[in-house]
Amino acid sequence: MSAASGQAVISKAADPVREMVSRPHSENFIAWSAKRPEVLVLSADLTSSCEVGKWRDTYPDRFITAAMAEQNMLGVAGGLAREGFVPFIHTFAVFIYRRAYDQLAMSVAYPNLKVRLLGFLPGIVTPGGVTHQAIEDVAIMRATPNMTVLETGDATEVESMLDAMEQVDGPVYIRVLRGEVPRLFPANEPMRIGQSRLLNQGDDITVLTAGITTEEALRARHAFDRAGVGVSHVHVSTHKPFGDDIIEQALSNARYGIITMENHTIVGGLGSAVAEYMAERGIGRRLVRLGLRDTYAHGASKAHLMHEYGLDSAALISAVESLIGESLGVSEADLSSARTDAVHSEAKAEAL
């Protein structure tokens, strides 16, 4: 958040994670919807997987089953929005932007309708494999005119995304975390559209993260301190419209260069947004984009995939080393321990 003086204020992110929140969307959305009769839920047979099973039971008249027919569901959402309802589509992200893209573009985005597209299972968080991993959604949604594109990185953001989206009089796509979600940001510091969070300040390197990569980058924080490398860490929750004072300052001050970490292909997502932003402002620094290197992934655990595709804190350390041109002498032990989720944890939704 920018203070009046223009000096960036560092927001305190929890490291290590002190609190895990179980199914943060579930109860929160029920409470939020109580006084908003215009809010509807549309589901394509993934109701409990998207944490709206209890919502359905609470507001059965406002829950619309679209069956497993996502293209039609996007069109129906457009029609409902034209009539003044605010449809909240709940399904896995891939089935929104891959399966039903033309309907999304022409029946929702072009007429600039207030439809909320809640995309679950962003990137490689799921062992469901290539068909369930939304790895190019941010790119495609960024390229879609009228679309606002958001991403949640912790429980606080999942809880505050509804208020944030409410400000937007048009379609919003948001990557939503589910199940056991860490709380990284204080509950009283909600997500705000167009406002990133400065989690650490330093003059050597700037790291920009979004979604699950923020927690991963925080693991390396103490290692950087110990090695004496000054790192500015910016957490981004608004992919589009992109850019604010915190981002501009952090990009301008990075002596050695900039690193982006995205749970996404490096084509068209956060790394690309940063590159465009830098080029347009003449910020001449090196940029390292960590993410899937123009490849589809496969089904395996999140920890395995983050390691395989160079999205973990060890990959971040290597990227820093390559920018400053020397080894930091960091070992695995210097990184805060990673959380691993049990595949069958209680908080996990019914199916995948």
Binding site: S43, D45, L46, T47, S48, S49, T65, A66, A67, M68, A69, E70, Q71, N72, V94, F95, R98, R99, P127, G128, G129, V130, T131, H132, T295, Y296, A297, H298, G299, A300, S301, H304, V343, H344, K348, E350, A351, L352
Partner: protein, 331 residues
């Protein structure tokens, strides 16, 4: 009997009967054997999937309960596939198509392709464990491979992709295989190939518009060698299909699109075998009516949420354990 048929230990099936005076009765005997064989495979598939569900505290179990006879009937002669000389080793994940020279298709578990032989497309990829277990039962996949199921770096993914054993197309995003099968069947028709193209489908896929586009295409282009078998278990993620979205009357709907459709009890091995063997000059759909809790009373208690099993309490787990012991004891 199909040339692919092999028993659990990978030994080739009994040789075909010689022609001659005894031929008729031998054939009858063979038919009984073939039905028993389907039942035997199905029992093995259920047992393996159940075992895994217990071991991993969850899984896609109802799919095995409903579809074991269907897979067994397809692989035990319903489809004409070349044999695998021995049960194959799956190999680790070696990259995706296009980016890796080491990429290998999971279709090799269905044997060498040939113009006169059939092809198999596996559509609802979350049935993967049922397919892997079937491949083991018919001697196409090494038994030890199942220990790699859903393990990091394995090709035996929970939701199979086209590097997974027995999988030729990547169709975990449902209702995409039938269209690809149309393309394959059309290509084969243009080359005058005698082999047929089979698709295994779930009933949920009939909620997707694409399925109906594919049926319309198949009928329009006269793809008489296209054959689909549907596990009509009447359930989906949110519960009973009748509570989520109608697909009935499915037989009439399919027929009205210009395709042939027959209904069969999907747990009756003999009836399934006969339905798969039925001739048709149109795209042909076998709708196999099945029970997603077949043979497992503890499962039926979870209705209507049967899609994915995760034990909600220790006592439920124990009930399933007991049912498993009973199943193993009985078979």
């Amino acid at each position: 009997m199909s040339p692919t048929q092999q028993n659990q230990k990978g030994k080739p099936a009994k040789p075909r009967a010689k022609s001659g005076a005894a031929a008729k009765s031998v054939t009858t005997r063979q038919q009984i054997d073939a039905v028993e064989r389907i039942e035997q495979i199905a029992t093995g598939v259920r047992r393996r999937v159940f075992e895994h569900t217990l071991k991993h505290n969850g899984g896609y179990l109802s799919q095995a309960l409903s579809a074991s006879e269907i897979f067994a009937a397809l692989y035990a002669g319903g489809m004409r596939l070349a044999p695998c000389k021995r049960p194959l080793k799956p190999g680790r994940f070696a990259g995706v198509p296009g980016t890796s020279n080491n990429y290998r298709s999971g279709d090799r578990f269905n044997g060498e392709t040939a113009p006169g032989l059939d092809r198999f497309l596996f559509s609802p990829a979350h049935y993967a464990l049922v397919l892997y277990a079937t491949l083991i039962e018919v001697g196409r996949l090494q038994e030890s491979a199942l220990s790699e199921f859903n393990v990091d770096g394995s090709t035996l993914e929970m939701i199979g992709a086209e590097h997974s054993p027995g999988v030729a197309t990547t169709t975990g995003s449902l209702a995409q295989a039938l269209s690809q099968a149309c393309g394959i069947a059309l290509a084969r028709k243009m080359r005058n190939e005698a082999g047929r193209t089979w698709v295994f489908m779930s009933d949920g896929e009939f909620q997707e518009g694409q399925t109906w586009e594919a049926l319309a295409f198949a009928a329009f282009h006269g793809l008489s060698k296209l054959r689909a078998v549907v596990d009509a278990n009447g359930q989906q993620c949110d519960g009973a299909m009748s509570s989520v979205g109608h697909i009935e009357p499915i037989i009439e709907r399919i027929r009205s699109f210009g395709c042939d459709a027959v209904e069969v009890n999907g747990h009756d091995a003999g009836a399934l075998k006969a339905a798969l063997a039925e001739k048709s000059d149109k795209p042909y759909v076998v709708v196999a009516r099945t029970d997603p809790a077949k043979g497992l009373e503890v499962m039926a208690r979870r209705a209507p949420l049967l899609h994915y099993v995760r034990f909600t309490s220790d006592s439920e787990r124990q009930d399933f354990e007991a049912a498993y012991q009973q199943m193993v004891g009985a078979s």
